[in-house]
């Protein structure tokens, strides 16, 4: 899926990184401009349009009745789906979800599920028969790099925006959100680490690591990607970057 980067540009980016600089003049631990707009889609129970630089993602929440999984009769369901729309990039194609779309959805899912961001135990209507299923649909509108962080931020922003469904079976005062997981992706180029890779940087990076943290700075999900490697020191450095930047992103959730 990665865009093809000319070798001149590749060398240019790598050379800048060697001097501690980035192609869009950011510092290594600086995100592009982040904007979070919630409630943009009225037909959804909750929604958020998140922009990071030129990357745009909209996430919508739908809450519906469902039959619980047989092994989890007393727990609501969480279903995360990601669509890499062909309108968002010349490299996205219509059809079955690509490997990248599946990975994206699963990494976002893990952050929300493992941090217990939604109190799924409260979403039971009748044990073993009827529970609430929370659908998070992530729609990539314009892809200019770092789709995981932008999608994860849109997902949690949309959840925080979610209103209870208009249904007599719903008895809770509000939508039960208890944590705010935020994903931060750290890219490695020329053995240097930087947050929020833009599209050009993604085309050049050796590897990336996405670390999802919660309010107290502990981790709830990690995913390494790309064909490069990380040393132990680099992993610990990436964690520090993810923790610091994660706190800043979380502040944007209001």
């Amino acid at each position: 899926m990665h865009e093809i980067v000319s070798s001149v540009r590749r060398d240019y980016i790598a050379d800048l990184v060697r001097q501690g600089k980035r192609i869009d003049t950011r510092t290594m631990d600086q995100f592009r401009e982040v904007s979070v707009e919630v409630g943009t889609i009225k037909s959804a129970q909750g929604s958020a349009l998140v922009k990071v630089g030129k990357t745009q993602v909209v996430a919508g929440i739908k809450v519906e009745h469902a039959e619980p999984f047989p092994d989890k009769p007393d727990s609501g369901m969480l279903i995360v789906n990601a669509e890499l729309l062909p309108l968002a990039s010349p490299t996205f194609e219509p059809g079955r979800p690509s490997e990248n779309a599946i990975e994206l959805a699963r990494v976002v899912d893990r952050g929300i599920r493992e941090s217990n961001a939604i109190d799924l135990d409260k979403l039971v209507i009748k044990s073993g028969e009827d529970v609430w299923a929370v659908f998070i649909d992530i729609y990539m509108l314009d892809y200019d790099g770092n789709l995981i962080d932008v999608s994860a931020l849109a997902a949690i922003a949309a959840l925080l925006n979610a209103k209870p469904p208009e249904d007599e079976a719903w008895t809770l005062p509000e939508f039960p959100i208890q944590k705010r997981p935020v994903a931060v992706t750290v890219a490695k180029i020329n053995s240097k680490l930087m947050v929020d890779p833009c599209l050009a940087e993604e085309g050049v990076m050796e590897a990336r690591i996405t670390i999802t943290t919660i309010e107290d700075g502990s981790i709830c999900a990690v995913q390494k990607g790309g064909i490069g490697c990380f040393s132990r020191e680099e992993l610990e450095q990436a964690y520090e970057m993810a923790r610091a930047e994660g706190a800043e992103l979380r502040a944007k959730l209001g």
Binding site: I102, K224, I227, R232
Partner: protein, 240 residues
């Protein structure tokens, strides 16, 4: 099975292991006749086969790369490998695992030596008990070496996690299900570089560091067993 009251009693785990102890690990190289390279791994109750075909001509042709070989990995679970029958064919989980497995192995291969070709790695889980992706990577790395594919180093892999507040190595299915955290890792053992890292659950900073330490040590141990498997196949046997 119901959630046991305690997963760790008197410092020992349900299966009697210490927190930093690996399950019994058995690796055999070159056990399939037709594959260019193969390996069989048993890690506790996990039984995993890996086969390597290639480098061979890439089909479909339009996926050929003019300057490099392509590594293709397929991780698949047999329908009978888990308690409840798994529907055959790829699902979202196996697509993701295939992807991270490829990314775990690719850093050690010299793919640029074989333009326009493909190296296929097939991983089949015959019996599963948590840690199948790590067992699959250990098997695939040995199978690649058995196929004679040039490699910078081996790739060794193991999961660490947190169970009852204790950092443990190599989780079983019960520990994975009832524990807090699961973190599979793969690394290039000599350079100590991590090529696969996933995590779900909860770790503080200290726990993360401790878990990494445990995994690094275990990968060295696994590396030794992988090398021994290859030696056992290729060493010149003395006639008695």
């Amino acid at each position: 099975m119901k959630k046991p009251e305690k997963l760790i009693k008197n410092g020992k785990r349900l299966d009697g292991r210490m927190p930093d102890e690996l399950r019994p690990l058995k690796i055999e190289a070159g056990i399939l006749e037709r594959a260019d390279g193969s390996a069989y791994v048993e890690l506790g109750a996990n039984k995993v086969l890996a086969a390597v075909y290639g480098p061979r001509e890439m089909h479909p042709r339009h996926r050929q790369q003019p300057d490099t070989a392509v590594l293709r990995c397929r991780y698949n679970m047999a329908p009978f490998s888990v308690d409840e029958r798994k529907r055959p064919g790829p699902d979202r989980r196996s697509v993701e695992i295939s992807k991270v497995t490829r990314e775990a192995l690719e850093p050690v291969l010299f793919l640029e030596l074989y333009p326009r070709s493909v190296i296929d790695v097939f991983i089949e889980v015959l019996q599963a008990d948590a840690g199948t992706r790590t067992a699959g990577i250990n098997a695939a790395a040995v199978a690649l070496a058995d196929a004679g594919v040039p490699m910078r180093d081996m790739v060794s892999s193991i999961a660490v996690g947190k169970v009852d507040g204790t950092i443990v190595l190599d989780l079983t299915k019960d520990e994975d299900q009832w524990g807090t955290t699961d973190m599979p890792i793969a690394m290039v053992p000599r350079k100590k570089l991590v090529t696969l890292l996933q995590m779900d659950g909860h770790f503080t900073k200290e726990e993360f560091g401790q878990a990494l330490g445990l995994a690094f040590k275990a990968c060295e141990q696994i590396y030794g067993i992988q090398r021994q498997a290859l030696r056992d196949k290729y060493a010149i046997k003395q006639e008695k």
